[in-house]
Assembly symmetry: C2
Homo-oligomer: 902 residues x 2
Amino acid sequence: MSKNVYFFGNGRADGTAEMRNLLGGKGANLAEMTNLGIPVPAGFTITTEVCTAYYQNNRQWPAGLEEEIRENMKKVEAAMGKGFGDVNNPLLVSVRSGARVSMPGMMDTILNLGLNDETVQGLIKSSGNERFAWDSYRRFIQMYSNVVLGADHSKFEAIIEEKKKERGVTLDNELTAEDLKDLVAQYKAWIKANLNREFPTDPWEQLRGAINAVFLSWMNPRAITYRKLHKIPEEWGTAVNVQAMVFGNMGDNSATGVAFTRNPSTGENVFYGEFLINAQGEDVVAGIRTPQEISLAASQQWAKENGISEEERKAKYPSLEEYMPECYQQLLELRKKLEGHYKDMQDIEFTIENRKLYMLQTRNGKRTGQAAIKIAVDMVEEGLIDKKTALLRVEPEQLDQLLHPMIDPKAKVTIVGKGLPASPGAAVGQVVFSAEDAERWHEQGHKVILVRTETSPEDISGMHVAQGILTARGGMTSHAAVVARGMGKCCVAGCGEAVVDEANKKVTINGHVFKEGDWMTLNGSTGDVILGQAPLVEPEIAGSFQTLMTWADEVRTLQVRTNADTPHDAKVARDFGAQGIGLCRTEHMFFGPEPERIKAVREMILAEDGEARKKALSKILPYQKADFIAIFETMKDLPVTIRLLDPPLHEFLPHDRKGQEEMAKEMGIPVEKVIEKVNALSEFNPMLGFRGCRLGIIYPEIFATQVQAIFEAACALAKKGQKVVPEVMIPLVGTTGELQKIREYSVKVAEEVMAREGVKLEYLIGTMIELPRAALIADQIAEYADFFSFGTNDMTQMTFGYSRDDAGRFLPTYVEQKILKDDVFQKLDQEGVGQLLEIGLTKGRATRPNLKVGICGEHGGDPSSIEFCHKIGMDYVSCSPYRVPIARLAAAQAELKNPRRK
Amino acid sequence: MSKNVYFFGNGRADGTAEMRNLLGGKGANLAEMTNLGIPVPAGFTITTEVCTAYYQNNRQWPAGLEEEIRENMKKVEAAMGKGFGDVNNPLLVSVRSGARVSMPGMMDTILNLGLNDETVQGLIKSSGNERFAWDSYRRFIQMYSNVVLGADHSKFEAIIEEKKKERGVTLDNELTAEDLKDLVAQYKAWIKANLNREFPTDPWEQLRGAINAVFLSWMNPRAITYRKLHKIPEEWGTAVNVQAMVFGNMGDNSATGVAFTRNPSTGENVFYGEFLINAQGEDVVAGIRTPQEISLAASQQWAKENGISEEERKAKYPSLEEYMPECYQQLLELRKKLEGHYKDMQDIEFTIENRKLYMLQTRNGKRTGQAAIKIAVDMVEEGLIDKKTALLRVEPEQLDQLLHPMIDPKAKVTIVGKGLPASPGAAVGQVVFSAEDAERWHEQGHKVILVRTETSPEDISGMHVAQGILTARGGMTSHAAVVARGMGKCCVAGCGEAVVDEANKKVTINGHVFKEGDWMTLNGSTGDVILGQAPLVEPEIAGSFQTLMTWADEVRTLQVRTNADTPHDAKVARDFGAQGIGLCRTEHMFFGPEPERIKAVREMILAEDGEARKKALSKILPYQKADFIAIFETMKDLPVTIRLLDPPLHEFLPHDRKGQEEMAKEMGIPVEKVIEKVNALSEFNPMLGFRGCRLGIIYPEIFATQVQAIFEAACALAKKGQKVVPEVMIPLVGTTGELQKIREYSVKVAEEVMAREGVKLEYLIGTMIELPRAALIADQIAEYADFFSFGTNDMTQMTFGYSRDDAGRFLPTYVEQKILKDDVFQKLDQEGVGQLLEIGLTKGRATRPNLKVGICGEHGGDPSSIEFCHKIGMDYVSCSPYRVPIARLAAAQAELKNPRRK
């Protein structure tokens, strides 16, 4: 017969951390700590195999299990110096489930098992605290009745309420030992009357019931649903952990606390923790009493900050270092031992029962991004871990916190609404409701928050000058969100609670009305909309950050480029380590800053024939050329991929009557003509309409002019001795014919410009792969493409048939109901869209083995998506400037997890 | 050395029809006819290999070619009894290119080669017609100078014009022999002066030049472009055909004519043709003189129809049977021989030179659909061909002509505009501009044509009562087109020339104004919009049609279902041989006929919560149930696939102010509330929005009600003893979770209904595969699907990123520029979308080997798409009722070409 029960205690455990499958996560960890010589309350683990056998065996215990349990209980009694059911010095135990992987909320814990009318007297004796003993007993009955006997929790609450009313008190802890004793009697009476049975008094019967309840919890509907959602096989089963109770609330020689082995906020290598004398674990968390600092230094610092004298501090709030120096020393040693063993910062829980220290839990501690970096880099320097481990230790997403201003975490703020955390950071400003107003207020020296129902390319100039953007509609990849992330500007998008009244210049959010000029604060990292001016803090980028980035660059094989449309964005990205521009959108250049730009664009759109169109385009040419010169200059010798015009033309026309009138006036044409054109260009589904390379087929002169501008810019710099390698990218290709034709005339224009300028440049002409069809026929497309750049925003839209601007009506529900694991516009859908990427890449490289392949959708900045791109063999990812460091780290992690280097 | 030149003439040819690759299409056919003993003017073919060698050999003739040509020319001279360059009886030849596949317009033909100042005299002698001879000579110089010497064609035209002015005449044929002789002299002088050379007088030099010109034409830009577009390899090369000229215009003993071996219009087995005495081939086609009938019977019939007396007929328009009885008899024999050999109706061209009959061409004759069927069936009965050949002989698309009324082909009509031939057939009616007007006029007994800028589901009832529909916007798969085809109703869509002024009830098409009540005729087969009332003819469906369909059904392995939403459509389709309904759209049922329907739907949409929604749905339930009962009853025991609600909800709300006011009034709510809801539901890209199964996830009660109606209907009929197998189809599934959840509650509803009704039904729950992602993860989806139905309309939209309603702005150009071979909404894009279908089917069957798979997009009625569906292994196609016979034939052909049956 195989071993069913694994003991841990007194520095020796039957199991180890490796036995997770057999002992469950909790059981294996308790065994591991015990083996490390860490003082853990003794106990034993019933294996997951027993659970499986229990179900296979018609819900009966396997033969011999009871004996094994009894043997192990004896070991626990010996280790703890108490007796299970002993009326003088009773051993109480907790019973908990513990599967291979954590399944939160699967079963409630049963504490204080072993109490009955006799043993409670023993507990009174050993604790010297009658109230504590009776309170423990009444809690046990309540918990056990609910979890094991199936009684409704609220029944007991009702009995307590009745008692409190009778005693004229309002809080549970105002009840006396006598009251609690009476409650125990009432509980038992209720059970007898309603469940038609006695509450079990035999500790062994209690234990059997509790163990069975854990087994049965494996099949409760909550657990079944959880397993289904997380694809956990039913046959894994759960282990059962039975562990001796220890009490930090047995008097002034007892205490309980939590600590981090380093500062989880800054990463500093100092011991950091709090404790409470004569308290239980939950008291520390509940915050009813002020916890005390563990170390003397921290305690003194705390007193200073709170204006408490050293005398008062010593008297009322001594540190553990002073109050129980021997326990403190022991903790210091454990801190070192745990970090040495787990090679990571630990978050520990401890309890001191009558001056004896017990560790209840240790786990890797949560930390801020800043702390994560500092700890990882410090630990390499301390020789605890290697660089590889350090790189894997920091969540790339955590870096985001370091790259934007934040709301002072200490500040109290009034959150009035919540939207999507569309672009991180925080912003404070005065509310305005149009791009023009934003510009006007900005010119007058105000900081503004631009509030719109939704934004469109016409709002770009207003977004540029705003501190932050709030929209009522649109998702994580709506125009506002994408543009704001590109600018590294705080944005809260799709705040459905906001009713924007642009005409009357006000927005109402859950009853709060903001008029033009009112102060508002946005938290783009959380989606919070905050009343007034919250204090901001600039993030401190410590030296460790730079160190970690250098290590990441040493490791990664995937290049990181940026999506940047302006010299400013390009500069930011370059400073953040971008290795080129992967996507330079040319359409944003069509709006401001000079009003002549959009005017010329509109002239082009209104043109009746190719000649008139060319004339208008010739006015746009010098602006585009200047833009490209500025960007090439900023990026120096790094590659720059420029995408030719992508959006439908109607995006450049005003859609409101006022704007149309202004345009008509400016262009000297009747407003009817403007309206007619707007109507003629309007589409049922613009996303699937006349845009991208379709423009370049119907109006070749548009693309030709852009190509001319690119090459004139490149030639101008080449003449000054700068190396420029322009990469021209054709958007929305779905057929070989489109690319072939556009490539043909683009090459012609490029060669003409170079001949005229007397300059010979290397250049590439490639395409976006953003339509399913393009991926499917990538072998043919690659014949005409020097590079592929996967546009995963559109690819996601087409593959799912989701419009990112409209999906808000169902996508959140899909994620909530787990129909989708994530928002597919944020994290690449590897299962579906990923197949198309892989097909496209494989087929493309089959035709052209050295085809350069990258990704330039929003997913280019998402760590899990970056890992996917690395795995399938892409050359680069391209993302918003502010996500470049995140991508660098994610790329390094991807290489470490899936090495390409031999 | 291999043979370079292949002779044909005098009943013996070196080549055969099988030698197409070597001799080109024309050469092989001339050889074949010669071998059949058909009197073909003698000649020879220089092989395609010579062309290739010519290019490989620096544009030199291979050694020995000249000798071979001379030898073969001798054989031609012998066969024709004339001499090449003979001054008394000159042999003239034509020189033509001839590649493996026909490449129209690659090179102009050179005729009359061999003429010079001496041989022209011989031609005068042998023809006895001086003017003819000089005219032939001057034409030859003109043609040769242009094609071989590269002279500009217009120069010679200018010289003729000058001559005509000088002679005071306006037509070429008013010039005399003397004039033409002078032209020859002027031409030669021009050549000398401008091309700096003499016009070649040596017939052999002429011939060498002509042969080289043919070779060189293979590499001219026109040919290169044509080959690129049609993927014809350059190395195929072209053959050169040199053939003796014969003349039907040598006098009254000469003639020329064309004939069909059977009537190409009706298919009747009678000889059918026309001829002209003393004329050239082009004169018959040009229609300058009235051609005469070949057979006496036809001649007499013609005279009768044209009121010509027998005497006049005999004198002026004798039949060939009377005029040259020996030639007529020879033609009759050739007719039999040709049909016996080619096993198909032939279209022949012949020339009689001095009472000697020559055949110049024979090819399979073009014919109407009716003729195609009759000929194919007749030929089986005559033992000429087998059933398989008969089935392959009829183009499925040709059947379309037989299934709709047509405009009388003899009628003269005034075409005022042209749109897309969106739904075939013809319609005459009085113009109306709204669905309501259509209904009102219809009730008053008028026939109406509904004219709209575009249609929407609100127009359905108006479309139902209209004879035909004309829209100004939308493509072949726009709402109007799809619905009209489904109804088998004539529709011209996307007529961009039509400016519809719905407010003032008029439409202007190229200056023609139609007001309400004006008569209009539509030709949905051609897209023509016609002024007034054109006469219509009802198609005659001969017995052969039924026979052919029976044969098709014997052969095919692919089932044919129909897309039908009403009992009427279902009945039509069943009569046409549909084997079930593959797509029954439920949304059309939400509109009329009873106004309570749409009212209840709108109540549902306005509902604030699930309860209110359920209440509204309960009003819809009985209507839906009644609809399903009617359809099930019509289809009897055949399967019916019902698709749950697919379109976005806003399609059910009025979008114009008037409609919104009416709705508000009817529902007793303020109009603002209606507008608010319309705005709330409006989407940027409705095609990619909140529709299909997304509705069924967010508002499960909608789908649940539909499922309830389906099963209540099925149970009601089952109780009456009818076998019903409902197939519930979930639209727009993109994730397994969607299907899993909707399946779960649908099964629950179905089981509840059946339990309540005490009936146990077989039923299937399946899904549309219409999103790229669904195809990519079809293995997972198949776990929850009893069947797949590919929705290729949406699949095409998503795969290409085309909105079918907006693609009109670029798709026609794409087809024109050959970027796309066809309109991908009409013919399935096998290359791209086809890959997804194959992936979906293969993955689906991997999970569920017996998965039933079909297609229900518009492509289900297109023959090439049907062949694809057959090839990849689908079980069925589903198409509009009126395309069912087409699909049956196409499916038979698919099986014959790609047998599934062993």
